[in-house]
Amino acid sequence: MTQEEVHILLVEDNPADVELTLHTFRNGNLRNRIHVARDGEEALDFLFCRGPYSVRTFEHAPKLILLDLKLPKVDGMEVLRQVKGDPRTKAIPVVILTSSKEEKDMVNSYQLGVNSYIQKPVDFNQFRETVKQLGLYWLVVNEPPPTNAFSAR
């Protein structure tokens, strides 16, 4: 996969969740445009173009980050903090997709500048519908940030 092709960065440690999320995209051509990061550290490496992802550039940022909160190594809240705290990444839309609906988490996420906060529904049909709509909205309906929104100023 070349870097241009990544539309969605899915940050999710649970393989079952990864599989179910990818399944919802199986019928579109999106599936091949999704990159999965299995922990917070990998997500940060990917987004900040370092380590195994040092060949990437900030101009080719993903159009959407789907971020779980409970993650190994670096948790989702920290990933969010760094992404929204850096001028090179802060324009990327971030959607928290988590099991938690704890008020503390929601307040923190919004204060850090999250674009959307969604609790994963237990019912798979609802889950699938939600994720589909998310993809549709952010990748199709929404006007993505222009490239020079990703430069350090």
Partner: protein
Amino acid sequence: MAEALSTLLETEQQALRSWSREHRALAQAWANSPRVLRLTRELLATPRTRDALIKAPVQAQIREWLHPVYSGKEYQGFFIIGPGNINLASTRDSNLGVPNLLIKQEDVLERMWSGQAALSLPQRSDVPLPDPNGVLREEQPTMFIGAPIWDESGTVIAILTFRINPLEEFTAILQRGRIGGSGETYAFDQRARLISESRFDDQLRRIGLIGPDERAILNVAIRDPGVNLVAGEQSTVPREQQPLTRMADSALAGDSGTDVEGYRDYRGVSVVGAWVWDSELGLGITTEIDTVEAYESLSSIQTVIFALTGFSMLLLIVVTMVFVAGRERILKGEQSLRESEVKFGSVTQSSLDAIIAADSSGRIISWNKGAEATFGYREEEVLGQPLSLLMPERYREAHQRGLERLRSTGQTRIIGKRLELHGRRKNGSEFPLELLLGTWKTHDETFFSGFLRDITERQQAEERIRKLNEELEQRVAQRTAELEAAVKELEAFTYSVSHDLRAPLRHIDGFSKILVEDIGSRLDSTARHYLQRIQEGTRQMGTLVDDLLNLSRIGRQEARRQVTGLNSLVDEVRKELQAETAGRRVEWQVGPLPFADCDPALMKQVFATLLSNALKFTRPRERAVIEVGQTTVNGQPVVFVRDNGVGFSMKYVDKLFGVFQRLHRAEDFEGTGVGLATVQRILHKHGGRVWAEAELDKGATFYFTLGEAENQKAEKPIPAAATRGEP
């Protein structure tokens, strides 16, 4: 004469006030104990029926806790009085759940509800009590001392009272004011009714003022028959139409006074007397003596004044003024001494308290046995010595200044006040003492009398009690903290468990659905049926987990109170439930509901659960009737939700509000068994409670209250800003 009577009366008044104050302080101390508050809270949460109150374990606990107080000689029993003046706890089962006897003296109860400790007047008992001979009798006089029980927010939530036998201390204090053969001191209430014992019970029976088995207390009006009944004369005016005696008439008008000319007392006998209306105690007190005897026995009055100081049960020492005489050999002021009329009687000498008199230069002129025991000096060693001998060095200068001030200005700051100082014994040791000083003037000289008591033991006892209380409170605080920590931990655990359960559930549901979609057509009907079962299971578990999460969230979050119209909440909930009523005949009867200070989101959950339960359990009914309204239970506003559904057996009512407790089979009525547990938690959070009544196949009614404290604030007057009377 007038002076002597007034002095005796004042002494009596002070004694009664001290006694009342002491008991009020004691009652308040018990009412303030954290244990009493905790037990009272439990009582308030118990339904106010006699049966429920008798059976509540807290009843036995509170009796046991207060047992040391009311098993003594002073108190005959106790009451905890809740809203509506209903007895919540008492020594006797028969008192529970009914209005307290003190509603006959409502002002006393009101004073307590407004935040003051108060002493009632004697009244007739509603239960048989032992008479002075130990025989149980109806309508014995009884009185109560009581104090408010406050919660942490400063609200009076209940009242603690103790039953006092007026024939004990109250009577004893007044009996000490009996002078000679006919003098008596008695108390009366606002209706001029005798509320202490008369010394003339036998006479009164003979002349028919009281029945053969009656006592004068509570049975005799202080009225003037116009003739001397004791001399056999008959009044033509019915008792209730007779005017008040000169004394009672003046006292009830709020005046104090003396009459040494002579007037008729309640027996029609000519007496001289002094009287006062004491607004702090709410009663009148008078000292009267037959005119004939009065002028014969002036000196006996003064003897009694000394006797008064000998109370063994009073913690306070009574101040009185002393005539000093008869000790010409001692001192220079012989002339003035002779002018004074009283001798120290044998009573003074035998008093346990130290009674010391001194002249205006501060030299000791009288020394009783009590003083000898207290200080270790014998009479002959101290007579003529300065009072400073009895004081530690550090008090001596102030004492000297005080004496000088008194000599030059006639003013003193400490006369009549109760002081706590230190004394110095013969062996040089110091001890804490309580002192009351009086003065007495003859023509040209002022004398002092001091009544003092060694309070070493009392201080030690107080210190012990204080320490015990401190320890107790510490232990309670520690336990509470431990408990709170445990509850928090449990809730955090519940949260994380239910949180983590959601992920695997989502997976089971997800993959079983993918299975059906992707290869469903290739599966046979049995396999599809099993897959459907799996999905039903996950759905149900999902609801369960969500409900549990909600329950634990409520436990952890603070109620955000605001004034909310409960009717609007009910309306909202009804709209949201519309889908469930589709195709059913449901008759809603929603009455006017109050505005409440509550968390609207949480209260909405309460109604959502209760109303959807009502809808659910009326499903088998052709016509469902669901009633929501307000009523009063034990004088408290209560909201209820009633349905005509399948109900449940009251056998299981205890399980109703437990988590995961269900009283119906899943195939009949779906549910997780968390809803009512959540309702209960929400209402507890608001300081209210919930309970239910039902009959199998007839329907169920759920009742709840919201924050009792709030309701009470509205009903009870704001405590008076200032109280009258002595500090």
